[in-house]
Symmetry: C2
Subunit: 203 residues, 2 copies
DNA sequence: TTCCTCCCCTGACATTTGTCATGTGCGGTG
DNA sequence: CACCGCACATGACAAATGTCAGGGGAGGAA
């Protein structure tokens, strides 16, 4: 019986290497490629055509979900999974929409991860119960398209004038969107609103 | 010859477990305790009196530097090291001031980490060259004590009135500190100032 | 000592930001 | 069709924020 061919992508060498070693100990798993960045992960996937791609959410170049989307487009037979340190509800939704079949926090053990890889390879889906609960309780973004867009522009602390220019809106309108977004998020001002929206993965 | 007794603290089980396994393969290293939070790390240190404590910088409860400080106070013979995902210059300085003897990003390999653990145990210090360079180029914080304090209170987006109350200052004074801090950091407003100060580890 | 510099602190003034009332147009419902 | 609700958009006004000029005190240099 052939082993499950796994691609491992994580920018932290310490984790990637250790993980590769541990997963390699499993009889039925085989780590065929490793990558330290989004683009590299994609290139490795093309070159090695793995059965399952295990992708870190935070990577330089392109994040895990972007890579997963691309992989699905180019290698439909390859299942994708996301592992992440600090799971934001919005990311989970984004990942599932992108066709990711496993979403796991880094707080699980390597043994458990191996089981999940097998399960995903067998065609099942797996979402960490804790993260799923968070996502459900956080619910969908209450923000409208424009609100989210403007909040995004405000994310790095830019003044309203600059946001207005970038969004091609009047300053009054921008202030309005920021205000309503803050109200929906229960924030006192736009800066805490940005923080909250980030935490929930809505920007 | 007795082996180096290592304490491993990291809230990500995936990493901690994998790392424990890999370090355990080294003949001269022995992982005698693991912890998933700051307080737990401290308790484990007290109970097992390791030779070297390898601490993650970001942990729930108390961060790696706090734990290191405490360990040094209670177990002077125990060397401490910090590993971190995203090294901020200020943290490095804070760590060194706290008597930490190794500061390593998670981008190194497990093998390299093992070498560094040995080196630290032998009495040497080790600081990742990249992080050291960052720290040097970032330099010392130009902020005065009050400026840093007020900027810290402003970090979560609180309005000036609240900051003034928490810092027991007039609102005018608070605005003044925020303003001068922003100027020193080259920021347009206090929110970008907060971001920059965070990046450099000055808050 | 005297001077100088820098940190700490403040209120008054100008600018930016947040709130409100209002208007337009689209998509679904009775 | 007429109506309702909602997203999108705006300017005027009120509130929060940033800037400025300046005073008091500690510490170091002349």
């Amino acid at each position: 019986m052939s082993r499950v061919r796994v691609l491992l992508a994580d920018d932290e060498h310490l984790i990637r290497g250790a993980l590769a070693a541990l997963l390699g100990l499993e009889d039925d798993l085989e780590v065929v490629a490793e990558a330290a960045s989004g683009p590299e992960a994609l290139a490795m996937a093309r070159a090695h055509r793995p059965d399952v791609a295990v992708l870190d959410l935070e990577m330089p170049g392109a994040d895990g979900v972007m890579v997963a989307t691309q992989i699905r487009a180019e290698l439909p037979s390859c299942r994708t999974m996301i592992v992440t340190s600090h799971g934001r509800p919005g990311h989970l939704k984004r990942a599932l929409t992108a066709g990711v079949r496993g979403f796991v926090p880094k707080t699980v053990s390597a043994l458990r991860l191996a089981e999940i890889i097998r399960s995903v390879h067998a065609g099942n889906r797996y979402v960490d119960p804790e993260l799923a609960a968070d996502a459900i309780s956080a619910g969908d973004s209450p923000l409208t398209v424009r609100e989210a867009e403007v909040l995004g522009f405000a994310a790095d602390g830019a003044p309203v004038a600059e946001i207005a220019e970038r969004a091609a809106l009047s300053q009054g309108t921008v202030r309005n969107y920021l205000s309503s977004a803050a109200a929906k998020l229960g924030a006192e001002n736009r800066h805490t609103a940005v923080r909250l929206a980030r935490e929930r993965g809505w920007v």
